[in-house]
Amino acid sequence: MKVKPFLLLFVGLIAASLMATESGWALDPAELQAFLDVGMVDEVKAMCAQNAGEVAASAQLQAVCAKAGAGGVSAPEPSMPAATPVPTPPPAAAPETPAPSAPSAPSMPAASDFTSSPPAAPSAPAAPSAPGFAAPADTPGAPPAYVPTDVTSGVSAETFLSLNAAKKYQECFDLCREKDPMIRTHPERGAIRKACVEAGLKIYANSQASNESLSKVINDLKKVNKDRMTQTTEYQLGKTISISLDTLTSEAERLDKEKQAVRYMWDAILMRHAEEDFKEAVSDQIILWTIGNGMDEPGFVNLVADRIFKNEQDRGRVRWLTARLRMLTDRFVDINPGKGENEVRQSNLETLRVWMSELQELTYFDNNSLVGMYKYKGNRVQEQYTQSADTEGKFHQAIWFYNEGRNRAQTHKAKASLDQSIAYLCSRYRSEDKDNLVAFYRKGFQHARRGLKLMAVVNKVQPETGKSFYRHEENNGELTSALQKSYGVNLTGYIYNLYLLENYKGVVSLKRQALDAGFDWESKADVLLLFAESAQKMAADSLENENNYRKYKEMTLAAGNRAFKFAIRRRGGKAPTSYDEDFCRVFNAYWNYLDGFGQTVQAKALDNRFGAICPVGGVPAGGATE
């Protein structure tokens, strides 16, 4: 399924939450203008609407609000405006060949879904009704009285905000450093530090800064948190620390900082969840923090999964991170998407629910969450592969994740499951390059074959022992069936592309795999006929060599015969009594092979029996009756 980004939502949320913190303060026309300059029109409108009384009393504010199109300041926006429902995007184009059973991939809402869904804008969720819970830190509370400028220094928060608005991040960051002693006692220090943090993060994101700068940003964020902790800044702090983790040289420091990063982000999610009264329909903010936007904005799950990969050798840390993932999934696995305010929200919630459910199960995969996380990440990436050249990178990335997991898996069942994931993904591969197609169909086929061998052992042993390999393991029958499908689809694609490349020898080398699979799949007749066709060509090329000729002749007739039997088997073991296109196609091919190789008696016998309903050249007179 195609996954579309939550990115715009994220930007909106960050901006909105930054403003929301100040929204209880007096509005500053210059500040609003700065927001307008960077295109945050909706947010300004919301602020105007929320502070209608103040706007009405100030001509300057009215002017700015009018620019934002908030003429009707007296009519504030509803706190949770109904988002325009956007239909769930259609599933990715199905493979040309029959696809095996798809993993449970959620329907990820489009970016527009999330942007249209109301973010935690200034007007958004009011203080929760829960008894005992204080007003959310990110929503208007009771901040200290607003003082427009610091009379002692002549520097105001506006100065910093304006620099950021003008994208002069370096200038803003330098000013932050220069004025640091002043900022400590500045009445607007919260807003200033946020601006400093924003500038620092932008600089770091643009790779213009050193790790030293990043640690300064982290310190600033800590100061912001100390001044007035909000879940947004707490989450941001954790995320920023996580960026710095792999640059740390001291292992002890890295482990310590890693814990900090995870805890900051976890605290933000946990407390936001509490502030939302543990409702079944969690906010988009929680969704975003938890699973990211599915594209370039990773969430908490991504961070934890990445840290599990990095700590592969530190089993204790992996266990701690695993427990953390389960804590998270416990909270959201039972949410009720039906309680979403509109279709978009319902879709978002369903995505969260499905992903959390899968994540929880995969923490038990192979009794090793490390392997499970490789599978989880592979699943998320493969959902983004749309069978187009643009997303081919996702295909390779997903294969890499599955392979890494496969290399680490210990149990037969987990190995077979990952073999199936790889085989399924390979069966969806599309490319203009025939060699690539051959390579990946072969890979998929090999993994499916390997998986089936493992499942043969599992199916034999497990009923005897009655023990499961790990919790939430797949049903043996379903996994075997899926592997068989992948086997067939990949083998079909493999043989078909070899045939197109006129590599007939390559095709006939797959004799055992094609003829002795021991199970059927949708396109089996095509595989057998392609095989027979290739063998026939090889026989034609081997007229000089009697042994080879006889070998290829036998292959051709055997494959033709199998195809013919399969055609009957598909019809429940009964021969048709009237014209059937699929059956007649196989019948005609088989008859030709028999006739071509001089097996005239058999050919005649077949003709006597089915010739009437399958005439040479297609539909018999009178048309198809079946």
């Binding site: 008894p131 005992g132 204080a134 502030e275 543990f278 089993r315 204790g316 701690w320 695993t322 909270r331």
Partner: protein, 359 residues
């Protein structure tokens, strides 16, 4: 880091709880993942409990003690940051130490029915920490936490808990008896308790916790035991920590670590000045120390053996009582005989025999 913000939220919870009628403490035995519809503050605690259970689940799966450390510390942090400070210490009356284990004003843990509804959730959290410590190999620590849990909610052991991915539901007592067999064999550590006295926040802040080490003269003491002792010691010291230059809430003045009997040396970054030696006895009643900060370091002193003092006092009191009774009897006799003056002498002798002040 535990945020001030979180403290505020959780602390506010308790205030709201006063308005909620006392619920039947045994009516809501919902542990593990919250299920039943319960008041939000209980729900919050149940989620914390679920978090702890997830840690215990992995602790049970771990084979190596080192694999359990992060998980045990996480449980300790959850209890310390989200339960102890906001819900217990912040609410305690600084004058009365016994309030430390009470939860919220007006709670009487002796009578579970009148106890704060959060009591059983908190007690379960402590019991789970006990189980975690048991699996870690510290049986005495485990017992301490079970005792604490029972102090908060006497019938805690009857509460059913699902420790195994919310599938296996048993009474806490069963979990403990099942697990005790596992940790009973490996526990050699005993309790060492430190009482804070004249602790300077400035000194504790200046101590470099990374430099703090605990070493043993016995090679058989495992590195893991020493590491855990160090972490517990640091955590204990930090309970004195004041943040933002102000400390308004009441903090506990004692903490414990667990080590095998023997001699240890605690080294801090200023240990060249203050060489701290610790003699640990098998009897944990003898392992009580006073912790003080001196100039730029810390110092430990053994607490005088109060039990000996108390025993002597008891004997003396019994002796005194016996003499009183004898004197009374003699006085009666004298009175009968008319010899009142001698009885005064008897009393004088009696007082001279007592060589400590009676209070």
């Amino acid at each position: 880091m535990f945020s001030i913000r979180n403290t505020v939220i959780v602390a506010t919870l308790l205030a709201a709880m006063a308005t909620i009628g006392a619920m039947d403490a045994f009516g809501q035995i919902a542990t593990g993942k919250p299920g039943a519809k319960v008041p939000i503050e209980i729900y919050y605690l149940q989620w914390l409990q679920n978090d702890i259970i997830r840690n215990v689940e992995e602790i049970r799966r771990a084979k190596d003690p080192w694999e359990r450390r992060d998980l045990v510390e996480d449980i300790e942090d959850i209890i310390h940051d989200r339960i102890e400070f906001p819900m217990i210490y912040d609410k305690a009356d600084p004058v009365e130490m016994s309030n430390m284990n009470r939860i919220g004003a007006g709670s009487d843990v002796k009578n579970a029915k009148d106890a704060n509804p959060a009591a059983q959730e908190m007690a379960v959290a402590y019991a789970l920490l006990g189980i975690a410590k048991g699996y870690e190999g510290f049986g005495v620590a485990a017992t301490d936490y079970f005792d604490k849990a029972q102090e908060i909610f006497p019938r805690v052991m009857d509460i059913e808990v699902e420790l195994d991915h919310n599938q296996d539901r048993r009474r806490l007592a069963e979990w403990i008896s099942k697990a005790r067999g596992y940790w009973g064999n490996m526990d050699a550590a005993t309790r060492i308790t430190f009482y804070g006295k004249r602790v300077s926040q400035e000194v504790i802040d200046s101590l470099n916790m990374d430099e703090l080490t605990i070493t043993s003269n016995k090679p058989r003491v495992s590195q893991y035991t020493l590491f855990v002792a160090k972490r517990d010691f640091v955590r204990g010291l930090k309970t004195y920590l004041q943040t933002d230059d102000e400390l308004k809430e009441y903090r506990p003045n004692k903490f414990s670590i667990y080590l095998e009997p023997g001699e240890y040396r605690i080294k801090t970054d200023v240990s060249s000045v203050y060489d701290i030696r610790l003699k640990v006895s098998r009897n944990y009643n003898e392992n009580n120390f006073i912790l003080e900060t001196l100039q730029s370091g810390i110092a430990l002193y053994p607490i005088p053996d109060i039990t000996v003092f108390e025993d002597e006092m008891k004997k003396a009191m019994m002796k005194a009582r016996q003499r009183d009774e004898d004197a009374d009897a003699a006085g009666d006799l004298e009175a009968d005989l008319g010899g009142l003056e001698e009885s005064a002498d008897i009393n004088t002798d009696l007082n001279e025999d007592i060589d400590f002040p009676l209070e």
